[in-house]
């Protein structure tokens, strides 16, 4: 397998170990229909050498957990702008565990009030990104979270 032309950072941006790529499910649960943020993140992760499965709008927690299982992802990223994060996040975490995928790291982006962030992390959410978060930061945190 020949390595493609990549800059040093891009080369590093590849997978944690050879032949393995970080797989990320990017989902938009709930009823808000604004998916620009999710698409920007999906693209940034792609450019960082990850395989991003994009599921589209209005996903239920059940649909997200099912897709995470079928795709055997390392990470689930959810974009939530509706304010329903305190209901959606624990449900997704619970379903992932029930499916035997407790090791999957969950990230949330969107409009999340500061006071909710520690509670989300207590529940088991790995990272929370609000407006203005840089894609570099998101990529870095995802890479740190996925064990080699």
């Amino acid at each position: 397998m020949s390595e493609r032309k990549t800059s040093p950072e891009q080369g590093e941006a590849q997978s944690p170990s050879k032949g393995r790529k970080i797989r990320v499910l990017v989902a938009k649960p709930g009823l808000d229909g604004h998916d620009r943020g999710a698409k920007v993140v999906a693209r940034a992760l792609r450019d960082a050498g990850m395989e991003v499965i994009y599921t589209g709008l209005r996903q239920t927690p059940e649909m997200i957990a099912e897709a995470a299982l079928q795709e055997d992802v390392d990470v689930v990223g959810m974009s939530i702008l509706s304010g329903a994060h305190m209901a959606l996040a624990p449900r997704v975490l619970e379903l992932l565990k029930a499916n035997g995928q407790g090791q999957v790291k969950v990230f949330i982006g969107g409009i999340i009030p500061d006071e909710d962030q520690p509670r989300l992390k207590e529940m088991g959410v790995t990272g929370v990104f609000g407006p203005g978060a840089s894609t570099e930061d998101i990529i870095r945190q995802v890479r740190v979270a996925v064990p080699e």
């Binding site: 032949g19 792609r46 450019d47 990850m50 395989e51 991003v52 239920t60 649909m63 499916n99 995928q101």
Partner: protein, 333 residues
């Protein structure tokens, strides 16, 4: 219990993990495939290919719904999208069009990035298909973006290959370009509610007639001419049907499913099913042999020697053919 045993007993977590191992071509994955292989060979493999934007994912979605509702078959879908040649990353978006299938435990969708190499992709896809086959999925659909050799390779995996066209994608010259039409067992004109559909149908029909001559009666300078069809038996007797569909509305889907069933029946009756299986397994065997032989060879030849010969090639002192001879110690030819 091994992962393969868990998979055979219907454990979906074992199935998904196995798919990952096989896709990454790990030693566990290869060992599991060996264990699973005796359990394969029952599924009907359907390849779905066509240019981007022709509606492949929507069609696969509708076909899967049909198979579930009408025939209660268990359906697996392998959806392949391209990886970036620069970063190796990919956005796999086929699930967006398949949300109707969510929540049905009889459907399993796996997205796969093409990850660069041609032969590797076909091999990984073959592996995933075998895993699904062993796990008891009756129908396995393989969806690829149809643009060239990789798709032809993947189509060779399938028993029945659908080539999806849509109106307005190109003139009739596109339709007679080699490759993509020749692999079609069934041609689908999707988005058949769009303007231009008659032109697309006409172009496909004439392309098909060139490939599969039929009896032709026509007026030429006022004289009735008849061109007899060549003896049917020297050709494969299957002439690809053309099916119009509107996937977003479900129009033409049950007719398409009938054509698929008719093709499967034709393959079984004509003995082509076995012939295709044999060809496919032969191609797989060749690919594996090649890989093993190269690996074996590279183990025996020190890296430094290989690099030295490569340097000579790079300096234009040796042609690649000679270099191969040198590396093989004159064992070639």
């Amino acid at each position: 219990m091994t992962l393969a045993e868990q998979l055979l007993s219907g454990n979906r977590l074992a199935l998904t993990r196995m798919l990952t191992q096989v896709e990454n071509n790990t030693s566990e994955g290869r060992a599991a495939l060996t264990e699973l292989f005796p359990h394969t060979g029952a599924a009907h493999l359907i390849g779905v290919t066509g240019a981007p934007g022709t509606g492949k994912s929507s069609l696969v979605n509708q076909l899967a719904l049909h198979f579930r509702k009408q025939e209660e078959r268990r359906v697996a879908i392998v959806a392949v999208d391209p990886s970036s040649p620069f970063t190796g990353g990919a956005v796999l978006g086929d699930r967006v069009r398949m949300r109707d299938l969510a929540g049905d435990p009889g459907v399993f969708i796996r997205s796969m990035a093409s990850r660069g190499s041609l032969g590797g992709l076909a091999q990984a896809t073959a592996g995933l298909v075998q895993v699904f086959d062993a796990a008891g999925y009756d129908t396995i659909m393989i969806e690829t973006v149809g643009a060239g050799q990789a798709e032809v390779e993947i189509a060779r995996l399938a028993h029945t290959t659908l080539v999806i066209e849509a109106p307005g994608l190109g003139d009739d010259i596109q339709a007679i370009k080699a490759g993509i039409l020749e692999i079609a067992d069934i041609l689908v004109v999707n988005k058949a509610d769009r303007p231009g559909v008659e032109n697309t149908l006409k172009a496909l029909r004439s392309a098909l007639e060139l490939a599969h001559p039929v009896r032709h009666v026509f007026q030429h300078h006022g004289k009735l001419e008849i061109i007899e069809a060549p003896d049917e038996t020297i050709y494969n007797s299957w002439i690809p049907p053309i099916q119009k569909t509107v996937a977003t509305e479900g129009t033409g889907i049950s007719e398409l499913a009938n054509e698929i069933a008719r093709h499967a029946e034709h393959l079984r009756e004509s003995g082509d099913w076995a012939a295709r299986e044999r060809n496919r397994l032969g191609a797989e065997l060749d690919a594996l042999l090649q890989e093993k032989l190269v690996a074996h060879f590279r183990e025996q030849v020190p890296e430094s020697r290989y690099e030295a010969v490569l340097d000579q090639v790079f300096q234009r002192e040796l042609a690649p053919w000679e270099a191969v001879k040198v590396l093989l110690n004159g064992r070639s030819e």
